[in-house]
């Protein structure tokens, strides 16, 4: 069922928009091209941002510095009641989506998809975003330098959300 919905989503949107536009007498071909030109410009404009983000995160992960931080933080998060198996995920998730998915894969294959840890990791992955990537990309695209409270607020709500997720899982899981 879910698969059908996700398969039908894009064609359905394209169909509805083009039918609606055609009926309303919009010159849909030229309008599409006009938008597409902007899409191409935007994609090229953000490429330097992508390279900068990828390299920084790549160096941090590849040098094992990330693992070092996870080991350092482990005692603190244990006291707070966070299962230590999900700490790597908590650390990587704001930095890299594909990296986080790799951690979820490890957890699921090691502990089982329907174990408590497996469920927590799955839900955490599904209910959070790559904060650093999104911020660098979106602000970078328009050249805003002072992001004010954006990162602070995003990280505070991310941490609160993690504990809410663990709480929800431990209450609904049993």
């Amino acid at each position: 069922m879910l698969e059908i919905i996700s398969l039908a989503m894009m064609p359905a949107i394209v169909l509805i928009i083009s039918v609606y536009g055609y009926i309303k007498g919009v010159d849909i071909y030229d309008t599409f091209i006009e938008g597409a030109v902007e899409g191409i410009k935007t994609a090229i404009k953000i490429m330097p941002n992508l390279i900068a983000i990828f390299i920084a995160i790549g160096i941090f992960r590849g040098s094992q510095a990330l693992e070092m931080f996870i080991n350092l933080l482990n005692p603190i998060t244990n006291i707070l009641g966070m299962p230590e198996e999900v700490l790597p995920l908590v650390m990587i998730r704001p930095l890299s989506g594909s990296g986080a998915l790799g951690v979820v894969r490890d957890i699921v294959s090691h502990y089982g998809a329907d174990s408590f840890i497996g469920i927590v990791a799955s839900v955490m992955m599904g209910s959070s975003e790559t904060i650093f990537y999104t911020m660098a990309l979106y602000f970078g695209s328009i050249g805003v330098k002072d992001h004010r409270h954006t990162l602070k607020a995003a990280l505070v709500s991310y941490i609160i959300s993690i504990f809410i997720t663990i709480f929800i899982c431990s209450h609904l899981f049993n």
Partner: protein, 193 residues
């Protein structure tokens, strides 16, 4: 802020790499990731052109305007700085909807367009406005209702019920977004620009 994080990621990474004798790995990563950024960006060109092209039709035909009417009260509360009927509001909404339904690259295209529109309302181009901050804070709290990649992964690893997490995930996502809005509003302070 990104400036500092970017510096710290590279600085700590390289210093730690030197200390642990991982230097050749770092050389490989720099070459590989630089290429990866370009490949990823090129991959985005086509799909972003497609989404912005299609949405331009939706915008010109008035479809987005019709849809966004129902969300106006919510948008007014979240983004009081955006003038009525400004297109920034519509692109933000499109980004939220694309995010909710898991159309990641569409969401990126609309989100970048929304930032561009928000930028036209900004008096000081270097400093983020409340609306920009709120938009990103909500965006970064995750809005996706059905986490398809996670479901697929659970399926691949033999879960008898890969979709079992959907309900909990929607609940968790709802809470994370609510928390993000509250925290975002709390941090806004009195400053307006």
């Amino acid at each position: 802020m990104i400036n500092t994080i970017w510096f710290l990621l590279i600085f700590i990474g390289i210093i730690y790499g030197i200390l642990t004798g991982n230097l050749d790995e770092i050389n490989n990563i720099i070459i590989k990731e630089a290429g990866e950024g370009v490949t990823f960006g090129i991959g985005l060109i086509g799909i972003m052109a497609f989404w912005l092209g299609i949405m331009n039709i939706a915008e010109k035909s008035g479809l987005i305007k019709t849809i966004s009417k129902g969300f106006r009260p919510m948008m007014r509360i979240l983004f009081p700085d955006i003038p009525k009927d400004h297109s920034a509001e519509r692109w933000i909404l499109m980004n939220f909807i694309a995010n909710m339904f898991g159309i990641g690259n569409g969401a990126t295209a609309f989100g970048l367009k929304a930032m561009k529109e928000l930028d036209t309302l900004n008096h000081n181009k270097k400093i983020a406005t409340n609306s920009m901050a709120m938009f990103l804070i909500i965006n970064m709290s995750s809005l996706q209702l059905i986490p398809l990649t996670v479901i697929k992964l659970r399926h691949d690893y033999g879960s008898p019920n890969p979709t079992a997490i959907v309900g909990i995930t929607i609940l968790a996502t709802g809470f994370s977004t609510l928390v993000a809005i509250i925290v975002g509003k709390a941090f806004e302070g009195g400053r307006r620009c």
